[in-house]
Symmetry: C2
Subunit: 388 residues, 2 copies
């Protein structure tokens, strides 16, 4: 365990500013960000003041206590609360929260219902039944989204985070090299995925943040892919989308290929997509918004007569979560979040798809700088696979 006391202190300061009594950690990314390791069921409570409490299954206790002691003294490092079931784990925090409310009141005022507020990450990974259970056993607590507390800390990546994301993106390139070599008539999507995954694991990935998507032919229209069922045929489009992780940090590399000489329709989509990336990179600077970047995309596609196939949401934030603020295709309001220097964003999230024909996308991860977007690990766009 590598407890990040600096980050915990910043979380506590943000909790104070937002008037929350605690952050309830229920997700891998929050847990990793604060405690520097992963756990199958990551659960912890970070109060607005005092040490955090890690909530662990019975058998895990000695190992966690040893890690905490190693990480810098038992008292300052944190407490461990042990439970025997997921139900128990939720019940046990009731007493802790009651003590906290008694001790602190509700700093910064109470919520609309006169209740003290606890922040929880309300995102894909946070299970609805745990939050409902939490609400039921803590009726005096209001659960609010922890985004206002955590986003200011998490959106801009520090040097260590960017190094891990760059390594993850480099590994995605290793997987893409492997996938590209396999794209020949008759290969299955499942085979391409297996080989790319293996190559990325061997190169240092700890897994992927989404399934590997490999789609052929008309399946390339899917906004997010899957594994196509039928083998690849000569002349078809193929999209490979890879998301390896390194110490929890996510990469995202998607490339579209065509097996053999592209026809006019394929060429038109491939050229349009390649053509929209440079102006979006140019526009991706501090103060820009995804809505603004989408306007650039709309202009480029409009000039090429492809306006009707424009899908909004050209990029999204990522880090320890695969989609972080601004998650422009998930939360419409995120389209207007101003970008900041040092953020990690993708370009290439949306597919340029002609329904019934096929789609194209090339996605990479960039760092936002005052001079525009800089790719973490550049990877070539060379879509045409020669049939020898």
């Amino acid at each position: 365990m590598n407890i990040r006391h600096d980050r915990l202190a910043r979380v506590q300061a943000r909790l104070r500013e937002e008037g929350l009594i605690a952050l309830m950690v229920l997700t891998h990314d929050d847990y990793r960000y604060l405690f520097g390791e992963d756990r199958f069921q990551p659960r912890a409570l970070v109060p607005v003041e005092g040490p955090p409490t890690i909530i662990a299954f019975t058998g895990e206790e000695p190992e966690i206590r040893a890690s905490l002691a190693e990480a810098g003294g038992s008292a300052s490092g944190g407490e461990v609360l042990v439970f025997g079931s997921v139900g128990g784990q939720i019940h046990d925090v009731v007493g802790m929260l009651r003590d906290l409310v008694e001790r602190l009141g509700a700093p910064g005022g109470r919520g609309p219902g006169g209740k003290a507020r606890v922040g929880v990450q309300m995102w894909f990974e946070t299970p609805a039944f745990l939050v409902d259970m939490f609400r039921k056993v803590n009726p005096e607590i209001e659960v609010v989204s922890s985004d206002p507390v955590m986003d200011p800390l998490r959106m801009v990546k520090d040097a260590g985070e960017l190094a891990l994301m760059t390594e993850a993106q480099r590994i995605a390139g290793v997987g893409m090299d492997r996938a590209r070599r396999l794209l020949r008539p008759g290969v299955t999507a499942s085979e391409v995925a297996a080989e790319a995954e293996y190559a990325m694991r061997r190169a240092g990935a700890e897994g992927t943040s989404t399934p590997i998507f490999v789609t052929f032919g008309i399946d390339t229209c899917m906004l997010h892919g899957r594994l196509s069922a039928d083998p690849l045929r000569a002349g078809e489009l193929a999209i490979v989308d890879l998301t390896p992780r390194v110490e929890g940090y996510c990469a995202n590399l998607a490339r579209t290929f065509v097996v053999g000489p592209p026809d006019a329709g394929q060429r038109r989509l491939l050229e349009a997509y390649a053509g929209l990336i440079p102006p979006v990179r140019e526009a991706m600077r501090p103060g820009a918004t995804v809505a603004g970047l989408d306007a650039v995309v709309a202009r480029v596609l409009g000039d090429r007569g492809l306006a009707e196939h424009h899908v909004a949401g050209i990029g999204h934030g990522l880090g320890l979560r695969f989609e972080e603020t601004p998650a422009s295709t998930i939360i419409p309001g995120h389209r207007h979040v101003p970008l900041r220097e040092g953020m990690a964003m993708t370009i290439g999230h949306t597919v340029l798809a002609v329904p019934g024909f096929g789609g194209v996308r090339h996605e990479d991860v960039y760092r936002v700088t005052a001079e525009g977007a800089t790719p973490l690990a550049p990877y070539p766009i060379e879509p045409v696979i020669e049939l020898g």
Copy 2:
């Protein structure tokens, strides 16, 4: 797409019996169970009467419409509702639900707040923020757990489901063979995981339902593992836990190994675990409960002086979800659900761990029969790896 009209009809009958106006599908397992395929963001609404509606991103529409037509006529097959953002997807169901309430009233009576009720799977995969968003935009609807509707259909597996689960369990054995051959001093957990995953993919797995867990030494105490950081040393315990999937159906195979001759403490744990499996199998019959099976485990461990290390929850249900009802370590009430013939259950969920020393577990998937538990794909327990 392979729409399961038989299952949809049974869901609608159960919705009627439970007095719900619809099932809102937000998870891969429900979607797969009813529509016979997977999708990145599976979303559908199954009303108590009439065709279901599949909710899809813009670019996916033609592909889904084609699948629906192929699956058996556009009108009877289902409807497609198209959205452009996750926020939009939730907003768009508002109108559908309002129409449904107007048309049907609230069959079977309304909930405590006088509201019509919609069932949602409240489990790990259901995102809390989607459910909260759904509640916010549908204030006239009460969200209730869909377990009472779906559990009676999903708990007992049909022959097709058991065949897929048997194949998944067989593939887990392929991965375990590969892992076992690598367990030598100096190997890393990451290498074992990469090779086992690759072997399972090659054997037909579409991925795994949890990360692959490979733990060495004291890390074997963890109830659910992770990848140990330090390489394996001679004399250490090692646990490998594999969860490949086939068409969404889950397997679960865990084995504990010791690298070289076991010491007395290791031998004691290994013998105790191997010794508890036959009586639990014997007891796993229709009408038994996990609480009853745990009593068997407690007796066996007590006889061996290991009572204090007993952790409750020796088995759990599985199928299209990695943990299904009875999910005995997650929902305490599930400990008392009577087992039924044809259910698929694991034995070996809990680790027998001596804190600070190490742990042992061997987990397999069984079918519940009137003669006790039958393993889907038997795999040997041969823990001792000879150092040559």
